[in-house]
Symmetry: C2
Subunit: 451 residues, 2 copies
């Protein structure tokens, strides 16, 4: 404030550049421009600013770091643990990365450089290379003394102690509880747990999240193929990962490329680009419906009544396909369904699709018969029309359900992301084939009468 322009040097009027509280900043952060963000941030007391800085996504951290005065940059980046510092550097523009790396102290820079070699979305990219390690032969007393010394130098809370041999192989884990509860002369080797859940460094972050959900621990050790310990992944990082992965999957299922940015912050041009791709592909696919309909143009001209039910029938296929694909994609992401379960899924979806189709067929048949009774709109062959619609509904819903449930398997088998089997994609697929099913059944039932 002291250096503010003259008009704010007196008591600021409301809405003017009065320093915002931490809560207010959090509330309106997404609405603030880059310079306003920096200004609001610099006016916070250091401890609040730190809390806030630590809580921000890496991209915002990078923006802030590049916005604060140069003399303050070093203390900010050094306040981060190596895994978060690596994330920040990865989120910064390419031409700034070396300068940011240069702000770190030598050992941290080596750690961060090593972390940057990992892909952002596998266990290696997620892990913190700093953890408490000790040899199996030391006593509990020595371990406690060592920890107290370490604690003074570490910035983060420590949860477990990892017992390694001379070649860094992970031998076991001791929890703080166990250590503090044990007699001082006990050897660490005698109280460590040896059945340890470990995470391979190349494991995909979605699978890491599954491991956490299974183990219910707060930190898991990351090891290389030789069983040498490389770092730890902590549950707070996994909370973020799970949210990110779910967001990506949901956006893909909704037929959008993953935004990778908050909705209100992403530039309009980038958002349209992320949406127009899929939308155009779907549109091109959907053009096949016009071709399919052109193929049946004579039938439509003879029996316009058939056209009336086209949206009803194809959308029912799309909706049931959307249900099936969403369920299967999510079950895959949670690890409940694996590639080799495909036949069990087919069996389940066949029954479900048949059941759902039957229900809609009954509703559809009833609707047409009742409408005819009241409005007399469907002509003398209304029972045949109703039968055509009902049979088509069973066929289209069954087909939609099977296609929607199998597409994620096929995509995964081919090495693509199963979530690309988006609801709109399945709906488009089913629309085209649904028309063929409908007109084929119509030809069978109405041939000789209406057609």
């Amino acid at each position: 404030m002291e250096n503010g322009p003259p008009n704010t040097a007196t008591r600021p009027t409301p809405g003017e550049r009065e320093p915002l509280s931490l809560g207010e900043i959090r509330d309106i952060w997404n609405l603030l421009s880059q310079p306003d963000r920096i200004q609001a941030f610099l006016l916070l007391p250091r401890d609040e600013a730190e809390d806030f800085f630590f809580s921000l996504p890496a991209r915002d951290q990078a923006d802030i770091l590049l916005g604060v005065p140069t003399r303050e940059q070093r203390s900010w980046i050094r306040s981060l643990p190596p895994d978060d510092a690596a994330d920040l550097i990865q989120a910064a523009p390419l031409d700034k990365r070396d300068a940011l790396l240069g702000l770190l102290d030598d050992p941290t820079r080596r750690e961060v450089t090593a972390l940057l070699a990992y892909s952002e979305d596998n266990a290696g990219g997620l892990m913190n290379p700093r953890y408490l390690r000790m040899r199996p032969e030391i006593s509990v007393e020595e371990a406690v003394a060592y920890i107290r010394k370490q604690m003074r130098e570490q910035t983060r809370t420590i949860y477990y102690l990892y017992v390694l041999d001379g070649e860094q192989h992970l031998l076991g884990v001791v929890s703080f509880n166990a250590l503090l509860a044990a007699a001082p002369r006990t050897r660490v080797a005698d109280i460590m747990r040896t059945a340890v859940t470990t995470i391979p460094e190349q494991m995909d972050q979605e699978t890491v999240a599954q491991k956490f959900a299974q183990s219910r621990l707060l930190a898991l050790p990351v090891v290389d193929v030789q069983g040498r310990m490389k770092g730890i992944v902590t549950a707070d990082d996994v909370v973020d990962v799970v949210r990110e992965e779910a967001t990506e999957d949901m956006q893909k299922v909704g037929g959008v490329e993953a935004l990778d940015e908050p909705y209100l912050q992403i530039a309009m041009r980038r958002m349209i680009r992320k949406r127009v791709g899929w939308l155009s592909v779907l549109f091109l696919g959907e053009m096949l419906t016009a071709s399919a309909m052109g193929f049946f143009e004579k039938e439509i001209a003879k029996a316009v009544v058939l056209a009336l039910f086209i949206p009803l029938i194809i959308s029912s296929g799309g909706n049931s396909g959307s249900q099936a694909t969403t369920l299967v994609i999510r079950a895959m992401a949670l690890g409940e369904v694996r590639l080799r379960d495909w036949f069990r899924v087919v069996r389940r979806e066949f029954i479900a699709g048949l059941g759902l189709g039957l229900v809609l067929a009954v509703i559809g048949f009833t609707r047409i018969v009742v409408w005819e009774g009241i409005f007399h709109t469907y002509g003398p062959h209304y029972l045949s029309v109703a039968a055509t619609v009902a049979c088509s509904l069973i066929g289209v819903v069954l087909w939609g359900t099977l296609a929607g449930s199998m597409l994620p398997f096929i995509l995964r088998r081919l090495g693509f992301d199963p979530a690309s089997a988006s609801a709109p994609f399945v709906a488009t697929l089913v629309d085209v084939s649904g028309l063929v099913i409908y007109f084929t059944i119509a030809a069978l039932i109405l041939g000789g009468r209406l057609l």
Copy 2:
């Protein structure tokens, strides 16, 4: 094995009742019948069985507990912390709950009974009432001694120490690091942090997850309206919550009621019930398309060419609506977009919808003109038809985008879950109105020529 039936007393043949390893059990758990699960579980060594038991969802834990011999039940339920015991009891059949509560020791039973009074999906239902508490005036030395004593009695790792006054008001937090790093005679009050993020006990679990993602801490304290501490929520529980909430949201967006059970495990009848409700509602809504088409039957009979593009146009509206609703629902769940942001969203989606509509209009127009050049299928008025399709696409995509983005706001404003604005729901809504838009534009452009 010693008590197995005679045919397995000798070396078991592969696939026979050979004890499964922990990894194997995890792998095929979802495929095992209830009796097989119990049997496999009972054959595990106690420590592996414990790890596995702790890692299971509450429903499976309850099944196991009710399946193991009565004399073992007590030790299993007592091995759980109170919050997990409460979850287990909530997952058990109603008539078993009192018996299960009776297995607990008196103080735990009181804690669990208190927890059962909270709704399962708010902070109270998520929290663990056991945590380390101390008075502000004790010294670091006393605190460490107290912790060591507590550690011998607690079953879970402890991360932070909470400083409370005589009325249980939360005054501050000390991390283990800070405690072990401090001089022994320092008062706890001098090293505690007083700017503490707290969670109100009634806070919805989705908001709790947001708080965790912001704070990046491993445990947060839960307080009542008077600021009295009630328990802690730990990040490992939040990982589960985030996964559950994302699953529910995604299933709703896909047009299914939340399954609340793993896909391969839910009974077929229950799964069909969860799907048929929405599917029937959508079907009834989609019937309005038949009515709308009936209204335009004369136009269709005069210009069958119009019918050809119906699926193309209404599905484009549905797809763009599905994109918009998915993006907005997810942004709301992540706390990026709030109710009061609705106008900013309208503005963004108006621009996006217009842009997307224009792109599709250009593609559609080109397609018709090119097709006409090659196949001569659309008759002498093909340019007017192309213009009708192009204008309708802009209108329908814009409308789909706006409807899809606003529906979640309207639902939330009315107190419903915004995720109910499922992609199929929006698509159905847009299908009906899309037809009206299409035929209105057709009447304007083709009136006097084709119509």
